[in-house]
Amino acid sequence: MVCIAAFIILCLMSVIVAFLSIFRRDIGKRWWKTFKKAWGCVGKRLTLQKCETGFKEDIKNSILSKVIVKKPKLVKPISVGIEVVAVLIVLVTVWSLVEGAKAGLALWSLGTCNVQRPEACSLSAEVCSIDGDSGPKNPIEAIGYWFSDWGEIFSAIPDKFRDWDNAQLDLRGIMVHANVDKNAKSAIDIFDPGCSVCLQSYRAQKETGFFNEYNVLLVPFPIQNGDGEFKYKNSKMIVEYVMASVYQGNPETYSGAVSPALDIIDRIFMEKDEDHKSYQKLFNDYYSAEEAEEKIKSWLVEFGYSEAEVGEIESRAKSSEIAEIIAKNNDIVVNNIHAKGIPTMIYEGGKHTGAYKQ
């Protein structure tokens, strides 16, 4: 065990000395001599040859040789201590390597290095994460979560090799353009009206002409945490109204031109009130549920709908039909697309997580 621990320490020290050598060649030269011997020994052992003294012995001996003459009785406990520390180093390192591999694999397959709390991963693109539940409450649960994370990671790996076909996903949403250009490539953009990263992404998409380049289907998705709560308190209501607006009249004939859905999204992401507060922020932090709903309804009137039509949209928004559409969308996003955070976009046959960048 000391041997593996020594190998790990040797690796770490080699990196440190290599770095140090850049600034202090004399120190580097001295240490490299020791390391060359140690690495030579590692090489011999890997090829099943004998090595009389290696780095392991050198480390242990240099410590014990200092105490054996003065305190010979301490040699045994210190020796045991070194072995224990070595075991800990190995365990921690193995655990770190496994965690590192897990994080790397998760980052590659799911787009985040933290499966349970995607937002907490600083290596991934900035997203509004679709978090799991409140997390483990005891070590046994933690082990269960650890294994379920691996399950999620492995189940998402095929996605990396998948040629995404938007038509097959069968998502419902808002077509950005009323008259779809049959020659343009299709794109799906999953967003939450309350998500600030989605706001940034939407603005970038507009600015760079993403919506003109692709036939974009905007899929509103109110992020729901593992505990059942919605991440942004008014998102669910907004999504219901948006989807109800899309599906007013004959669902087969809906289009951005006749639907106020795009106008609602556009206003939330792009506009501010008279106090220069972003509507997204107002919906997230200031409006109560009632105020938020009234605001949406007032916008619908503003967009040219009569009171009766607004009432119709309202009742549709609260209908089981819309609830089912949203639920179906959510199921596809979570279980088919394996989105761990949004915005998630699908275009050019690939899945892209995080704010849109040209």
């Binding site: 004998k50 003294t53 012995e57 242990k60 001996n61 014990l64 040789s65 054996i68 003065k70 010979p72």
Partner: protein, 387 residues
């Protein structure tokens, strides 16, 4: 001892089996060469060169005299060390002359490995002889017919001597074999075993005999027909034509050039002569001090239950290990106390590791520089370690 006046009181050097400390006269002789007559030997006519040649010749004579050997039977060549000397011989002995090559189990890697490569090159078997606890070889167990035998006459583990060396030499010669002696460990304190030997060659190292870093070969003149020169260069020839040459060694007075290719370490050779003179001057008191120090440490180590001493009897070279303690660690601990001792397998991997399965060992080896206070301190430190 005043000849080791440079040795500080707290420096305890116990690694003479690797190389002995050099007494002042030896260091002075080397310095004299560099400061008073630095010159190429064997090839110049100026005064410094003649002086160098004269002193080098003195060393050759002194070495034969040291072992009571006659110059009409033997000559001395100088080389790098014992290992180099053995290899020079084995690489140039005509392989077709031998039916097998033999060595013993307690050999230093120097003959142990060289006999391996010889056997491979000659396509003949290699046989390992078992050394008895007293160092001798039971001759009746082996057939030496047309055998090349390479053995040490004193072990670098515990100093045990090849007590029946003379009988071995006689037996080998009687059966048409050739015997080469590794004298590296015997020369300093057990040279009596080699006196008047009739072995075909003796290889040793000056640096284990209080001399500078240098090797020597004492070779029987009648071995030369069995040598096929293949390691050759400057200093070895009297004439060179386009495709042929005339070896200087063909002349009886320059036969030593057979193994001396290129420029030699003249200063070291001369200083080696001084070390032999110095060694012959050791008094009974010097020898008694060495024996007493060896005996005291032997008695101490033997009395410690945790100490596994390999020696059967006191010797200036003693090897041991301590139960439960890594010898390399102990070596470092001793070094922290100013005690310099060798740890490991001392180039005897086969016997110590693979035959006896010992853990790495500690070796204390003394020279005439040893002081009773060194033994006091060593025992004191070991007592503290052993608790």
């Amino acid at each position: 001892m005043s000849d080791f006046d440079y040795l500080a009181a707290d420096d305890i050097y116990l690694d003479s089996a690797c190389q002995s400390l050099r007494p002042r006269p030896v260091i002075d002789a080397l310095n004299r060469y560099y400061t008073e007559h630095n010159s190429c030997g064997e090839r110049v006519k100026y005064a410094w060169g003649r002086k160098t040649d004269e002193l080098v010749e003195d060393t050759r004579d002194a070495l034969l005299k040291f072992l009571k050997l006659k110059s009409r039977d033997y000559f001395v060549s100088f080389t790098l060390n014992t290992t180099y000397g053995i290899n020079l011989l084995l690489q140039q002995l005509k392989p077709g002359l031998f039916k097998k090559v033999m060595t013993s189990d307690i050999e230093h890697n120097s003959p142990f490995l060289a006999t391996m490569t010889f056997a491979k090159k000659a396509g003949i078997p290699r046989e390992l002889m078992i050394r008895e606890r007293d160092g001798s070889i039971n001759l009746s167990n082996y057939d030496f017919k047309k055998a090349l035998v390479v053995v040490n006459c004193a072990s670098n583990i515990d100093g045990r001597k090849l007590l029946n060396l003379k009988d071995l030499v006689k037996t080998v010669h009687k059966q048409g074999g050739v015997i080469i002696i590794d004298a590296a460990q015997a020369m300093a304190h057990s040279s009596d075993i080699l006196e008047k030997t009739e072995a075909d060659a003796i290889c040793g190292s000056a640096h284990k005999v209080y001399g500078p870093s240098l090797g020597f070969m004492i070779v029987r003149r009648d071995l030369l027909p069995k040598i096929e020169t293949s390691f050759i260069g400057g200093g070895m020839v009297d004439d060179v034509d386009k495709e042929k040459y005339q070896l200087s060694a063909e002349s009886p007075n320059h036969v030593y050039t057979k193994f001396e290719s290129g420029l030699q370490a003249w200063g070291e050779i001369i200083a080696f002569g001084e070390s032999l003179k110095w060694l012959e001057k050791r008094t009974k008191a010097d020898k008694k001090n060495l024996a007493d120090c060896s005996q005291r440490l032997f008695d101490f180590l033997k009395s410690q239950p945790r100490v596994h001493l390999l020696n059967e009897e006191a010797n200036p070279t003693m090897s041991f290990y301590i139960d439960g303690l890594d010898s390399h660690m102990l070596g470092q601990a001793l070094s922290n106390e100013g005690i310099m001792a060798r740890t490991g397998y001392f180039c005897v991997h086969y016997y110590l590791d693979h035959v006896r399965h010992y853990p790495p060992l500690i070796r204390f080896s003394f020279g005439y520089h040893i002081r009773p206070s060194d033994i006091d301190k060593t025992i004191n430190v070991l007592e503290r370690i052993l608790g």
